[in-house]
């Protein structure tokens, strides 16, 4: 279970999240929707432990571990994966090298043996095949000069290889054409399982056609202002945030 209780986050003394509460049990998919600037990405960064965010919370835990006690790389080793709205370009580091370094760093942290080069290559090729990522792209520096859609595919590839248990997707649908949206949506939907929790942050409900949420939450003004089932996403699309929130 992901438990967030009374989370406040500020950046440069500016309060962005103001007492946010959210619980996502294992096995469930929750969507977080909200207008631009609501603090959705900030929630993702706070979970991942990015520097520069001042955080206080009564509880911030995943699967019994207090996330606030852990460094970002330790959170990753505990199963957290934050797919970024704008994946970062890493000049000079081939995508494959980056992937192998992260897979093996997480394995080391968990006391598992590192993957041999051939074993890693086998898994990487297979996952890349699923996501229709050409070999040539894996040899290029990670995300450098990749299109928006290619960057999101690389994020999905990392999910397949790292096998996280708490997956937070921040606007993974943005920048994707319909085919890529379907491919990535279906691939991630295929990862659902009793030991995993998914948090799908999105501005538009398109991705939710492929990853059907158990719960939908609306984030506005730094708090969850209303929650509902999958139908809430449709209402938001039809009527807009303001009227849905006003009628809640």
């Amino acid at each position: 279970m992901l438990t967030i209780s009374n989370l406040t986050v500020s950046v440069d003394d500016k309060a962005i999240l103001k007492g946010l509460n959210l619980s996502v049990p294992k096995g469930e998919v929750h969507a977080i929707m909200g207008p631009n600037g609501a603090g959705k990405s900030t929630l993702g960064y706070a979970l991942a432990g990015r520097d520069g965010y001042t955080i206080s919370a009564d509880q911030l835990s995943w699967d019994g571990d207090d996330l606030q006690e852990l460094e970002p790389h330790e959170r990753a080793a505990k199963g957290l994966f934050l797919s970024l709205q704008y994946p970062v370009e890493i000049p000079g580091v081939a995508a494959l090298t980056f992937l192998r370094t992260s897979v093996n760093a997480q394995r080391r942290a968990r006391g598992q043996e590192e993957l041999s080069a051939p074993e890693f290559m086998k898994r990487a090729r297979e996952a890349a095949g699923t996501l229709k990522i050409p070999d040539e792209m894996l040899k290029r520096p990670l995300n450098v000069g990749f299109s928006g859609g290619e960057k999101k595919r690389m994020e999905a590839l990392q999910i397949l290889l790292l096998q996280p248990t708490l997956i937070v997707l921040d606007e993974t649908d943005s920048g994707l054409d319909i085919d890529a949206l379907k491919l990535i949506g279906e691939t991630i939907n295929g990862l659902r399982g009793p030991d995993k929790a998914l948090v799908v942050i999105t501005h538009y409900p398109r991705l939710l056609d492929y990853i059907r949420p158990d719960r939908v939450h609306v984030l506005q003004g730094g708090q969850i202002v209303t929650s509902g089932d999958a139908k809430l996403a449709l209402a938001l699309e039809a009527d807009g945030y303001d009227s849905v929130v006003a009628n809640a």
Binding site: G49, H73, F81, V88, P91, V103, Q106, Q158, L162
Partner: protein
């Protein structure tokens, strides 16, 4: 209190005495300080504080015996009339230069080893590459003594000759003054790729003369300075004639109290039209006490040229660092990975044997 330049320091007195023993009249010697034009980032006088005893240079030249097509001969050193005091001192102490004649295809390694503590060694090598000949060379500077090593290598490339050069320095404690000159004939091409970690004071003076049409020179380097290592690269390129090209790309990281200074100047003489000269220097400061100075310069006296220079300096990309950590890579490992990636770019287009030399996949 700093001594007045007219009062010789202990090192200056020792060096003068050593020169006089070789029979070369050297009336005075004032070692360069920060105020000496061209030495702003290398205070040699300050770096050479104690006694210095002159000893013969150890120059190891490997590779030619087996190839049969190259020869080494000691020759007297000819000084240019405008030679500085320091250059005269170097010539006096080096006494001879090793002259290497290259024909056909050769592979060489040339290693200058620093002498022992409180010693000075001066060495000079001239490499003549015949028209159409090809040389691959590894030029190395090594040692960890409290000494002064002064070297000069002169590369003369005949028409259509080709020189591929690796510079590798492994120095600590040594005060180095390494001069390298390139005289390029028509359509000659040279490419240098260096990885340097500096020294107590490491001064590299490189001078390139494009003297006939169609020559090409590339200088790519990565400087990785930590501790209190210092490096000063001064690269002077002269385009005397039309239609030659120079490409420079240097990347520097400085950690702890490391200090790097890159001074690159490209002179394009009147009439040297259709010159192409591009220089770039990018620095990455890894600590608050580190320092990187980059001074790319262009002096253009001809029309119809393509010349550009750029310099950037910054810190490690925090976003990239977070991204790597969020994927499970611990901070220290992420920093190392990103720094190494930054320093790898100058080698992207290196010939396979050079990429291998520096541990990259060919």
């Amino acid at each position: 209190m700093t001594a007045h330049p007219s009062t010789p320091t202990t090192a200056e007195a020792d060096l003068l005495a050593a020169a006089s023993k070789t029979g070369v009249a050297l009336p005075t010697l004032s070692l360069p300080t920060r105020r000496t034009p061209g030495w702003k980032y290398a205070d040699l006088r300050k770096a050479l504080s104690g006694h210095l005893q002159a000893v013969p240079a150890t120059i190891e030249i490997q590779g030619i015996e087996t190839q049969g097509q190259a020869t080494v001969e000691p020759q007297a050193i000819a000084l240019e009339p405008e030679a500085t005091d320091l250059a005269r001192l170097h010539a006096a102490l080096a006494q001879v230069e090793q002259r290497i004649e290259i024909e056909g295809e050769q592979e060489l390694s040339l290693t200058f080893a620093a002498p022992d503590d409180q010693q000075v060694a001066c060495g000079q090598v001239r490499v003549r590459i015949a028209p159409g000949a090809n040389l691959r060379i590894r030029e190395r500077y090594q040692g960890d003594s409290d000494s002064f090593l002064a070297t000069q290598v002169i590369y003369e490339l005949g028409e259509g000759a080709r020189l591929e050069r690796v510079i590798d320095d492994r120095l600590d404690g040594v005060v180095l003054w390494a001069r390298v000159q390139f005289a390029l004939g028509a359509k000659a091409a040279t490419e240098s790729f260096g990885r340097m970690t500096g020294s107590r004071l490491a001064r590299h003076d490189w001078r390139v003369d494009h003297r006939a049409a169609g020559s090409f020179a590339r200088f790519h380097g990565a400087l990785d300075l930590a501790g209190s290592q210092h490096a000063n690269i001064r690269l002077q390129v002269h385009h005397h004639v039309a239609g030659c090209e120079t490409q420079e790309l240097f990347k520097t990281t400085a950690n702890d109290r490391g200090h790097a200074a890159f001074e690159g100047c490209v002179h394009v003489a009147p009439g040297a039209v259709q010159t192409v000269a591009e220089q770039a220097h990018h620095g990455l400061l890894l600590s608050e006490n580190a320092e990187i100075n980059a001074l790319p310069e262009l002096e253009i006296f001809a029309d119809d040229v393509i010349c550009a220079h750029g310099a950037t300096c910054g810190a490690l990309d925090e976003q990239a660092l977070f991204y790597a950590q969020a994927r499970g890579i611990p901070e220290a490992e992420a920093r190392t990975m990103l720094t190494a990636a930054f320093l790898s770019e100058p080698f992207d287009e290196a010939p396979p044997w050079i990429r291998q030399h520096f541990g990259f996949e060919a």
